[in-house]
């Protein structure tokens, strides 16, 4: 149980940090390239733990992100729910991919996420996404190995300490 709680702390701190990172402003030039941190963190936890991340949880986190982001309530909730659903569906396969394949899968996931975002924006009548932002899934895929390793390191360390 202790171990589960430690994991819970890591999970929630990771989510909170990812939401913060989502809000941190970057120079205007590279702002569209900012990776979608909450998605990356959720993908990691969906892959690593079988019972923590559910579609409902992703939905809730997405709602919180929407509340913070202030674009459209339900937008990120939908996208994160879809993302987590796909990850959970292919979890057993994705887990044992080599890193580069996993990065590729992350790219596809993020691309799908991005397409959804563009669609939602189009339906809501917002201005289209900047062209540069289509590189964002690539950035996400490129930094995926590092995110994975970092989270994995923290995760295993805390687990070791807890037990």
């Amino acid at each position: 149980m202790n171990r589960f709680r430690a994991q819970g702390w890591t999970f929630w701190i990771g989510i909170a940090l990812s939401l913060l990172l989502m809000l941190v402003p970057l120079p205007a030039m590279i702002e569209p390239l900012k990776p979608y941190w909450p998605a990356l963190v959720l993908i990691y936890w969906a892959l690593e733990t079988s019972d923590r991340v559910t579609v409902g949880l992703a939905f809730g986190i997405g709602l919180a992100a929407d509340l913070l982001n202030g674009a459209l309530l339900g937008d990120q909730a939908l996208r994160l729910a879809v993302l987590v659903f796909i990850v959970l569906r292919f979890r057993s396969r994705l887990r044992f991919f080599p890193m580069w394949q996993q990065a590729l899968a992350v790219w596809l996931l993020l691309l799908n996420n991005h397409v959804l975002q563009a669609l939602i924006r189009a339906f809501a009548g917002d201005s289209p996404m900047p062209v540069l932002s289509w590189l964002e899934p690539v950035v996400g895929a490129v930094i995926w190995p590092f995110v994975f390793l970092l989270l994995d390191d923290v995760h295993t360390r805390l687990r070791g300490k807890a037990t």
Binding site: L19, L20, L23, V24, P25, S50, D51, V55, G56, F59, G62, L63, D66, L67, L68, G70, A71, L72, L73, G74, D75, A77, L78, A81, V82, F85, L88, R89, I120, F123, A124
Partner: protein
């Protein structure tokens, strides 16, 4: 652990349930988005949770602040000096402008007070401005920027918003000289508002002192009594504040009291003054008492109430 249990459940039904759940969530999200788009729920939700959200924003803004601070710390010195110089110039300009504004605001205040006085009295008066020159060794006389061409003549009373300042003694085409009440040669008939006892206030040459001499020892004038012009003598109209009694003492002969009076007018500060046009009757009783008290707070209110009452009665 729940892990083996979950793995052992039939994969087909689990997947179907998962898909159904996903569809439910998608529908929920779609409904939320439509409602938000139509009704602006998000703004209301953000408004309601602002106490929690704003600190998050502040936290998120910290790195950018740090980067900005670091940028400032590492900016080249010369650039900073340049910027500093520029900012200082701008500041000086702004300060100068601000000072000017302040003086204008004060002037405005003074003018308004003067206008009030004018309205209160129901008299014709002319606005004049002091020309700041030193006439003679003492500051007993002042020069005004209006003269005979503007209709000024000798003997007009000069007042400011607080009281009697003096009278015109000399008229030039576009300027005039006024003798202040503190001039030793100047005298003004006064009356105590509390008792109605009369006297004559002389200047002493002292910048903030008049003296009312030859008061009987039995007179009940006291320190703090307000003196106004009595209107006797035909020079000054009645009812203008002249000063406040500060002290009583026996005069050198010991037969009479004399009262030391602080002038009401701001003799050394006024920039604008009023010249009263209407001369009082050469002789006659002092002005009626109601003129003395300033009923300015009561008069407009009552007239308004009256108007309102009549307007209400009309339809």
């Amino acid at each position: 652990m729940a892990l083996p249990q979950k793995e052992s459940t039939p994969i087909f039904s689990d997947a179907t349930a998962g898909t159904l759940r996903l569809i439910a969530y998608l529908a929920l999200a779609a409904v939320l988005m439509v409602l938000d788009h139509r009704n602006g729920w998000l703004h209301r939700a953000r408004y309601a949770t602002a106490a929690a959200i704003v600190p998050v924003y502040k936290l998120a803004a910290l790195p950018a602040d740090w980067i900005h601070d670091a940028g400032v710390a590492f900016t080249q010195r010369s650039k900073l000096i340049d910027e500093n110089r520029q900012l200082r110039e701008t500041l000086m300009l702004a300060e100068a402008r601000l000072n000017r504004m302040q003086s204008v605001a004060q002037q405005n205040e003074r003018l308004k007070q003067l206008l009030d006085t004018q309205h209160l009295l129901g008299m014709h008066a002319q606005l004049a401005r002091l020309i700041d020159v030193q006439l003679g060794p003492t500051r007993d006389r002042v020069m005004l920027n209006v003269g005979s061409r503007e209709g000024v003549h000798v003997g007009q009373t000069v007042i400011d918003s607080h009281g009697v300042m003096g009278q015109i003694i000399e008229v030039l085409p576009h300027a005039s000289v006024a003798m202040l009440v503190i001039d030793p040669e100047h005298a003004v008939p006064v009356m105590a508002t509390r008792t109605g006892s009369r006297g004559i206030a002389h200047g002493t040459g002292d910048a903030d002192q008049l003296v009312v001499s030859n008061l009987p020892l039995s007179s009940d004038i006291k320190a703090g009594d307000e003196l106004v012009t009595s209107g006797l003598g035909g020079r000054f109209p009645g009812g203008f504040p002249v000063g406040t009694v500060t002290r009583l003492e026996r005069d050198p002969s010991g037969m009479f009291l004399q009262a030391l009076v602080k002038p009401a007018a701001e003799l050394d500060r006024s920039g604008e003054v009023l010249l009263l046009r209407d001369q009082p009757e050469p002789e006659g009783p002092p002005a009626p008492a109601p003129l003395v008290g300033p009923p300015d707070s009561l008069a407009p209110a009552s007239s308004e109430a009256h108007k309102r009452a009549s307007a209400g009665a009309a339809p």
